[in-house]
């Protein structure tokens, strides 16, 4: 594993604190890119605008995965969409986190018997946070953001680490469902 981002001032900041600072920084400024797959995208405008305003926690929508470190998968995931979601996920830079909205990514939801939607997002890309509900309301989404920030702080949100560690397994699962572009 290549050493992540070395400590800039080893003499001043002890190694352990540097990791804590990195986690605090990435917690306080989560930049998100959201993949409007299903019916969840409609829940984002209320969370951004004046009633709930997620920007108070430093969460703002960004245009490209290169600039973002939080991917929101909002709704059922068709096989065709999963190929693009994996591509966008791999274009993001570590540390990156994934939140899946609604019951469809958890267990397929109302499309449990459909032939072209996947039933559990976790098998294909590491998901740090699921929000149950057949489209959660903005309150649930805000609660999820706060929980994710606590997870990041305590180091539990390590989806990106798992993706690097089990990369071959994840790719094998993906190859069973769609043809990867780099094959």
């Amino acid at each position: 594993m290549t050493p992540e981002n070395p400590n800039p001032l080893p003499s001043i900041i002890p190694e352990k604190d540097w990791k804590k600072i990195q986690r605090m920084l990435s917690k306080r400024s989560l930049w998100m890119v959201h993949f409007c797959t299903g019916c969840g995208a409609m829940e984002m405008p209320p969370t951004m605008t004046s009633r709930y305003d997620m920007e108070r926690f430093g969460i703002i929508p960004m245009a490209t995965p290169r600039q973002a470190d939080l991917l929101l998968v909002t709704g059922y995931v068709a096989v065709k969409t999963l190929k693009r979601i994996v591509r966008v996920y791999e274009q993001m830079q570590d540390p990156k986190y994934v939140i899946a909205f609604g019951s469809c990514p958890i267990n397929g939801g109302i499309y449990w018997d459909s032939y072209n939607t996947i039933k559990r997002l976790d098998k294909y890309i590491p998901v740090d946070m699921y929000i149950a509900g057949c489209m959660p309301r903005p309150e649930a989404i805000m609660d999820a953001f706060l929980k994710l920030m606590k997870d990041i702080d305590e180091g539990r949100a390590d989806g990106w680490l798992r993706y690097k560690k089990y990369y071959e397994k994840y790719k094998a699962n993906q190859r069973r469902v769609f043809k990867r572009w780099d094959e």
Partner: protein, 165 residues
């Protein structure tokens, strides 16, 4: 010229469908596949300029596929459903996209979902589903639940609990 007149002129027995809450007249007629093209042309020249949809019904028990051509006329607000029946095992019919351009898209979808062949339409093939090898999924003999359980259920979970930082 309204739909009933055209039907009488062509000598096709038709049936008027009463639909609650819809006062516009709607007619349904079973038509001989060979003569379908001229009939549609006749309707098209007499005010039925709007081709609403081409849909397909899979009658698995009778063993045939029904293609329904749905036309609508703005002049006297009438709907006409012309349907033909094709054998279910190799359903094949000629493409009518030269009458209405949008027929091509419906034909591509029906080809992918029901497996109906349309000669003259060169853009059949992969349309909505990507890398799909199995049989056309909308046919009644395709069991989606078994397919879903078998394809997505069998994917193993990646081991939980990667080591913490």
């Amino acid at each position: 010229m309204n739909a009933v007149g055209i039907f009488k002129e062509l000598g096709i027995e038709y049936e008027e469908m009463k639909v609650k809450g819809n006062k516009d007249p709607r007619y349904r007629a079973k038509v001989d596949p060979e003569k379908l093209e001229d009939i549609i042309l006749k309707f098209k020249n007499n005010g039925f300029r709007h081709f609403v949809a081409l849909s397909c019904v899979d009658w698995i028990k009778e063993g045939n596929m029904e293609l329904i051509y749905h036309l609508f006329s703005y002049d006297n607000l009438e709907d006409v459903f012309l349907s033909i029946y094709l054998p279910r095992d190799q359903p094949k019919y000629k493409s009518l996209r030269h009458l209405f351009p949008q027929i091509e898209t419906y034909e591509r979808e029906i080809h992918e979902m029901f497996g109906v062949e349309f000669e003259g339409n060169d853009r059949l093939g992969e349309f909505i589903l990507e890398d799909w090898e199995d049989m056309p999924p909308m046919r009644k003999d395709f069991d989606t639940e078994k397919y879903a359980k078998e394809k997505y259920g069998s994917v193993p979970l990646v081991e939980e609990g990667g080591e913490k930082e």
